[in-house]
């Protein structure tokens, strides 16, 4: 399988990365080289093979359903580029 320019632009949109036409053009070539490389997996017969879910056989750990941490909203927002009164601030999303 390979990707064309429009697919690359659509995927960039899904990935929320702005690309201009020249960048999308360059990426199309690079992504097709990688997709061509992974194509060799088609040689492998995977009939009846279960997909890997965990490399280590383990039973899911469960913790007590209780609050174990928190109470420091100021620390949570301390690295935000813009914040106000312990809230993250973003451009208006609802008119």
């Amino acid at each position: 399988m390979s990707v064309d320019l429009n697919t690359v632009k659509r995927v960039a949109g899904l990935a929320r990365i702005k690309v201009d036409d020249a960048q999308a053009e360059k990426m199309t070539g690079e992504l097709n080289v990688i997709l061509g490389f992974v194509e060799q997996l088609n040689e492998v017969n995977v009939d009846g093979v279960e997909p890997m879910t965990s490399v280590v056989e383990t039973t899911m750990k469960k913790r007590v359903d209780g609050q174990t941490d928190g109470g420091y909203a100021d620390k949570v927002v301390s690295n935000a580029p813009v914040h106000e009164d312990n809230f993250f601030t973003v451009p208006k999303v609802v008119e």
């Binding site: 399988m1 990707v3 697919t7 690359v8 995927v11 960039a12 899904l14 990935a15 929320r16 990365i17 702005k18 690309v19 990426m27 690079e30 992504l31 080289v33 990688i34 997709l35 490389f37 992974v38 194509e39 060799q40 997996l41 040689e43 492998v44 995977v46 093979v49 279960e50 997909p51 890997m52 879910t53 965990s54 490399v55 280590v56 383990t58 899911m60 750990k61 913790r63 420091y72 620390k75 949570v76 927002v77 301390s78 690295n79 935000a80 580029p81 813009v82 993250f88 973003v90 451009p91 208006k92 999303v93």
Partner: protein, 493 residues
């Protein structure tokens, strides 16, 4: 005083205990070495002298009180991927601009609880994506090794290039690193240092900047096998904050050093030969086989039939997980924000400016293979191939093999800019990536020099949670091969 940076961790530990020098003197020696050597190597992107001096002072008090902990006063470099409270933590990406976490990663906390000293944060490929440390926002790291008679700069490998370069150049006693497809073992091989990727789940991933969560694993790079054993003992732990960390006792790995390998079964996989691989890699491998034979090990040829599919499967699984993990960098909660007319444009502008080319490439691949209609053909297929890769290893262990010996990399260090095609660059991990896909441990040990005088490594792959055997067999190779140091310290002005 500069001699103190020549000591291994084991030697420094014993001399500190014997009061031959203080932890403060040891730390000052390393800070001095960084001061004179880091400009040429670009291994550290932040030096934390104040923290180091304070920790060293505390260590001296502990030693004086007879309460020395296992890593008391040992100066370490920390890969920029580990969250260190209040200190530069960006996985060398522009998108985490200015990020200083309010918390400490479990691995670094374990090290500090055992008395280690932090010298600073080490350069790396952006988000650990790279095999040459050329994708860092903070510039290339330079390998202290050069070809004989040449002053051309070489890459240290990646993604833990800063860790490997700093250890090889004696700018720290050892360093933390991380390995998703070979990022500990490949740079260790290219710099003549020792590095181990433990079993998946051996160390907590909490507080490590996530790349591919089912593959990422913390580990050390050091100058000797014993130093790796000492460090892993402190780094490994079960952690309530990482459900994939495994609740299994952490052995005293140092006890495995010096034990005989007589009667051990070492597997040689015939699939670990590549077209165009230099003859000296094959020779090195044969030399490794001969050393282990002389030490009494039994050498058996084995087959890992799905080896060649590990790298293509990796380039589906790792980007898929990366595209999910890196979705969090949106200009809202931390790091860089580039404004836009609305929130979506702000996301797009931020991610366009904040991610480098290689990161964008992998996020794009990951987004594509996970997008509607392609999931089965790519991701599900790759995860099935991964099951087959793990079964290959399980079969070998069931046949009684104790460890597997391979080359670490298909070649020695190269010059920056020499490899421009992404897939050719990815081939650097062809021998290391299988261990990540199967979750098993792997160690790289320097084993010789190529015709240009550059170090080459041999890799040992072990059974899950059998790191002890890797230290045991690894030390036999180290004893036979000797240790390797660059012929001059040209970087120290």
């Amino acid at each position: 005083m500069t001699d103190l940076t020549k000591l291994t961790i084991a030697e420094a530990r014993d001399k500190l205990a014997a009061r031959d020098f203080t932890a403060t003197e040891l730390t000052e020696s390393y800070l001095g070495a960084i001061e004179t050597g880091n400009e040429a190597l670009n291994a550290y992107i932040a030096v934390t002298g104040d923290i180091a001096r304070e920790q060293a002072k505390a260590s001296d008090a502990k030693i004086a009180a007879g309460e020395a902990r296992p890593l008391e006063g040992i100066p370490l470099g920390i890969k920029d991927l580990y969250a260190t409270k209040g200190v530069h933590t960006q996985a060398c990406s522009h998108i985490l601009d200015g990020f200083k976490p309010e918390y400490e990663s479990t691995v670094t906390q374990n090290l500090f609880d055992d008395g280690a000293v932090m010298l600073g944060k080490l350069n790396m490929d952006e988000f650990a994506m790279g095999s040459s440390n050329e994708t860092s926002y903070y510039g290339n790291v330079v390998n202290p090794w050069r070809r004989n008679g040449s002053d051309t700069a070489l890459v240290p490998g990646g993604s833990s290039g800063g860790s490997a370069s700093a250890v090889a150049a004696h700018l720290c006693a050892a360093a933390t690193a991380s390995d998703t497809g070979g990022s500990i073992r490949q740079p260790a091989a290219l710099t003549g240092t020792v590095g181990i990727k433990p079993t998946y789940g051996r160390c907590s991933r909490w507080g490590m900047v996530a790349f591919a969560s089912s593959l990422d694993q913390a580990g050390p790079i050091g100058r000797t096998v014993r130093d790796n054993a000492i460090l892993l003992k402190s780094m490994a732990s079960v952690d309530a904050k990482d459900t994939t960390s495994v609740d299994a006792p952490v052995p005293n790995y140092e006890d495995f050093i010096g034990k005989s390998v007589k009667g051990m079964k070492i597997g040689i996989p015939k699939e670990y030969r590549m077209d165009g691989m230099p003859e000296e890699i094959e020779k090195l491998w044969q030399q490794g086989i001969a050393w282990l034979k002389e030490a009494g090990a039994e050498i058996v040829e084995i087959s890992l039939p799905h080896t060649k599919y590990a790298l293509p499967a990796y380039y589906i699984v790792a980007p898929a997980e990366a595209s999910s993990n890196l979705a969090r960098y949106d200009g809202v909660r931390y790091g860089l924000r580039v404004p836009g007319n609305d929130i979506v444009e702000m996301y797009e502008n931020t991610r366009a400016a904040g991610f480098g080319d290689e990161v964008k490439r992998r996020v794009m691949i990951g987004t594509y293979v996970l997008s509607a209609g392609y999931y089965d053909a790519y991701y599900l297929k790759a995860q099935k191939v991964r099951t087959l890769i793990k079964q290959d290893f399980d079969t070998v262990w069931a046949d009684g093999v104790d460890a597997i010996l391979t080359p670490t990399t298909p070649d020695a260090a190269f010059a920056p800019g020499e490899i421009t095609d992404p897939v050719t660059m990815y081939m650097n991990d062809v021998f290391t990536v299988t261990a990540n896909m199967a979750g098993v441990p792997g160690i790289s040990i320097p084993a010789g020099l190529n015709k240009d005088g550059l170090p080459l490594g041999l890799q040992l792959i072990g059974k899950p949670f059998d790191e002890g055997t890797l230290f045991q067999v690894g030390e036999v190779i180290e004893q036979a091969a000797g240790r390797f140091e660059p012929s001059t310290n040209w970087w120290s002005k």
